[in-house]
């Protein structure tokens, strides 16, 4: 390259004695590494990972409930009463935590509850015969797939309001499972619990995380314990597996994340595409 007195400018429109792909020594001077990377602390990551763990154990609790109902170990009436108690307790807690009702009155809540109950109760005889002709394996496979989809698409960053796809997948799976139960009341109880676990519990958990950050890990741990405990009566090996999974999810994975954070090497420079730095939110209001 001709080393003239002319300094290279990074423009293509001007005529310069350099080829277009010429770079001079100043090029790497503007290189920046790891701009704006937050330093993660292990325990806060583990706390957040507890949400994933408790959602997995929610599914485990549901499966445990279903299998004990299917096997006749648990009468549906008891489950219903338990559900009612849990719902009332949860609703009370939700109210006690406060923080705005989000525009919903008690009357609207009552209406929603009435709709849930009426529809579920009305359709539970239909549900009983729904999958009669479909083979059991197919139903199990479908439910497993749907519950997995629920876990995959669950909005972990913000569980309330529940994401449409994850909630719908969980409900679809629970309807499939409920249709395998021996009676209409069983199906009704199962669907009520599905609603409690997959729709209402994430709302309460979100409220807990916002309002009572200290109580949140305990609640998550409680649910995880319930999941492990519920599964141990049904399938001990499975409960051990779940326990290991939970431990890996809440303790090992955050550790891995924090460790790997050290090796993070992002480079930034003038070659990046333009980024709008200014805060535009004041224009949007």
């Amino acid at each position: 390259p001709p080393c003239g007195p002319v300094e290279n400018k990074k423009v293509l429109y001007g005529r310069q004695p350099y080829p277009d792909n010429y770079v001079d020594r100043r090029f790497l001077a503007e290189l920046r590494r790891n701009v704006g990377v937050q330093q993660l602390r292990y325990w806060s990551v583990a706390r957040e990972a507890g949400l994933v763990g408790q959602q997995v154990s929610c599914v485990a609790v549901f499966v445990a409930l279903w299998s004990s109902l299917d096997g006749g170990a648990l009468p549906p009436a008891a489950l219903l009463w338990g559900g009612l108690l849990a719902a009332l307790l949860g609703y009370g807690l939700h109210g006690a935590l406060g923080g705005g009702t989000g525009g919903r009155t008690r009357w609207a809540d009552l209406q929603s509850a009435a709709i849930f109950l009426a529809f579920t109760f009305g359709f539970s005889p239909v549900l009983k015969t729904l999958t009669e002709s479909v083979s059991t394996d197919t139903v199990y496979a479908m439910s497993a797939l749907m519950l997995l989809a629920h876990l995959l698409f669950f909005p972990y960053a913000r569980p309330s309001p529940p994401g449409s796809l994850s909630l719908n997948a969980a409900l679809f799976g629970s309807v499939c499972l409920a249709s395998r139960l021996p009676g209409a009341l069983h199906a009704f109880a199962m669907l009520t619990w599905a609603l409690l676990l997959f729709a209402l519990w994430p709302c309460l958990l979100q409220r807990l995380r916002d309002r009572a950050p200290r109580a949140f890990p305990w609640a998550a741990a409680l649910v995880s314990l319930a999941g492990v405990g519920g599964l141990s009566g049904l399938w001990p090996g499975g409960s051990v597996l779940l326990l290991l999974t939970l431990l890996a999810l809440t303790l090992a994975c955050p550790l891995l994340l924090v460790r790997l954070q050290r090796h993070k090497d992002n480079i930034h420079g003038p070659w990046d595409e333009a980024e709008i730095r200014e805060d535009l939110s004041r224009f949007l209001d």
Partner: protein
């Protein structure tokens, strides 16, 4: 420019005389129509030409002279050349034959007496003027006069008409029809050579038919107007009656036939070619239809065939019902090893079996009257085979009404499911259909909406195979019926719209309908201009169909197969007839 002379084939052996014809403006071509023989008196020729000119639109003039060498007529040439001074002209053609040569030569004389010889000496070839080139095109006068060039340009205004020399030649020859009425046996003052007709037919029968057709047509018109008045004034225009009559193929056929007869029986003379062909086509198909209908009647009302038919009809209906019932029972079990929702299956099956029961009792109630009904209905064949076929189609439609009902129930149920599932599937994914923007948008639903939607989605999804199977079976049944009816409609439509007259004309007189012309090089002799033979290129058979097809409902654009499949898939109802609403303008 090259001068083109269209020369009739029959005049190549004519005696010497004057060429009568006309110049085609802008195209630099001359059409020779006849040769006036020597001897003649020029004044008489002029008078005769003005007379003919007043009868036709053709600008008839004397084009030049024609000399046919004969023994004892030497010196004729110079005389014919002198004739150019008698008749007014801008160009004077001198065609002359020589003994022993097939071609003939042509000389063009411009006003002012300057000779422009066609066959110039070789040495002068380089300085030869452009003006003197001549092509002589021979044509068959009779065929060109009678033929009709396609595409027909009758209604088109003169300015829009394409500038075509051939069209002008055809037009000129066809227009100068009165010229050809004089034949060689006439004792007039002039002797002409041109195409000789064999004289006009003076058949008594043809004349009687011609005379008699006028009052018959008037009577027909009067009766038809009475008929249409009846149709318009009675309570036929009440919505339900109107709807039913628009769906019954007999009524539709009646409407078409009335319209056709009105066209045929109008006493106005068909002056234009297309109108004439339309009338003739309709008339011939009407006659054929009637003949076939009478044949059918002759076959049907012999040896008590009606009675036999009626006595087989009820057992056939019974048999069909039995088969249907077996089909339904098979569907209510585990058809083809498919596992269906048993509760829904039973409900649907019982519902349909009850329907069949109703239908069979209706048929049995009707059975004593069936023979009589058939007897009277069979009489409709004397109106034509198309009527008999239409009645048959309607009867099939009425007798398979139960299949239609099954189909409609199945389709409605299936359609409901498909629509419900498609919208609930969007809800399942957290999306919704934005009507304003015609697209799928994401949307946040309430929890109770999500819950109920998913519940319904699951239920509909698991019940779908049962409904789909019922829908499939009844759609197949319906398709068989529709196919049968469609075949009948196709036959009726063929009889109604097939241009029989035009097709016959194409087969027997191919030159009458011309697509264009073709040329053949006649002879290449040294020293004569180029001689071409112009022959008529007959129109293709497919083009005959395209031009002369009587318009009926089958001419409207129909659904494509893909559209039909889509309709079947989403469960829209299909019909053998075309919806009137889909027909735009």
């Amino acid at each position: 420019m090259v001068l083109k002379i269209f020369f009739p084939q029959c005049c190549t052996t004519a005696d010497s005389g004057l060429l009568v014809g006309c110049w085609i403006p802008d195209q630099d071509s001359a059409v020779v129509l006849a040769v006036v023989h020597y001897p003649f008196i020029p004044g008489q020729v002029k008078r005769y030409l003005t007379e003919i000119r007043s009868q036709t639109d053709v600008d008839l003039t004397v084009l030049g002279s024609w000399s046919m060498p004969k023994e004892g007529q030497e010196g004729m040439d110079s005389f014919l050349k002198d004739l150019s001074t008698i008749f007014p002209h801008s160009r004077w053609l001198q065609l002359s034959r020589e003994i022993g040569k097939r071609g003939f030569t042509c000389q063009v004389v411009r006003k002012g007496g300057m000779f422009l010889k066609e066959q110039a000496k070789e040495g002068e070839g380089s300085v030869r003027d452009e003006n003197e080139k001549v092509i002589i095109v021979h044509y068959d006068q009779r065929k060109v006069m009678l033929s009709q060039l396609h595409p027909v340009q009758e209604g088109v205004s003169h300015s829009k008409m394409e500038q075509s020399a051939l069209r002008a030649v055809f037009h000129t020859v066809a227009q100068s029809h009165p010229l050809f009425f004089i034949d060689k046996y006439d004792d007039g003052p002039l002797k002409l050579t041109h195409w000789q007709s064999e004289g006009r037919e003076a058949s008594i029968i043809a004349e009687l038919v011609k005379q008699g057709s006028v009052p018959v047509c008037k009577l027909l018109t009067w009766m038809l107007s009475l008929w249409s008045w009846l149709g318009s004034i009675r309570l036929l225009n009440v919505p339900p009656v109107r709807f039913i009559s628009s769906k019954l193929s007999t009524c539709v056929q009646l409407g078409y036939r009335t319209e056709h007869l009105q066209t045929v029986s109008s006493t106005r003379k068909a002056t234009e070619h297309m109108e004439f062909m339309r009338k003739a086509n309709i008339f011939v198909s009407f006659l054929l239809d009637m003949a076939l209908g009478l044949l059918l009647i002759a076959w049907l009302y012999r040896e008590n065939r009606i009675g036999k038919l009626a006595s087989t009809l009820v057992p056939v209906a019974d048999h069909v019902a039995k088969e249907l019932r077996e089909l339904l029972e098979w569907l209510m079990g585990a058809p083809a090893g498919l596992k269906m929702n048993r509760a829904l299956d039973q409900v649907l099956g019982r519902f349909f079996i009850y329907h069949i029961h109703l239908w069979i009792s209706y048929i049995h109630l009707m059975s004593p009257f069936i023979e009589m009904i058939l007897w009277y209905v069979g009489l409709s064949a004397c109106l034509g085979l198309t009527f008999a076929l239409s009645v048959l189609s309607d009867m099939v439609a009425l007798l398979t009404f139960h299949i239609y009902c099954f189909y409609v129930y199945g389709a409605r149920l299936y359609c409901l499911k498909i629509y419900g599932l498609s919208s609930l599937w969007r809800l399942f994914r957290g999306k919704k259909w934005n009507v304003l923007r015609q697209r799928v948008d994401s949307c946040s639903y309430d929890m109770d909406q999500l819950f109920i939607g998913t519940l319904l989605f699951t239920i509909l999804l698991f019940l779908l195979p049962t409904t789909a199977l019922y829908y499939l079976v009844f759609t197949l049944l319906r398709l068989v019926v529709v196919l049968f009816q469609g075949l009948i409609h196709l036959a009726v439509d063929l009889l109604n719209s097939f241009p029989l007259f035009a097709m016959g004309l194409r087969v027997c007189r191919p030159y009458r309908l011309a697509e264009g012309v073709k040329f053949r090089v006649l002879c290449e002799e040294e020293g004569t201009p180029l001689h071409l033979m112009m022959e008529i290129n007959p129109i293709k058979v497919s083009a005959v169909l395209q031009y002369y097809r009587t318009p009926t409902y089958s001419c409207y654009p129909r659904d494509s197969w893909m559209a039909l499949c889509k309709k079947l898939f989403v469960g829209e109802l299909i019909y053998p007839w075309k919806h009137k609403t889909t027909k735009t303008d």
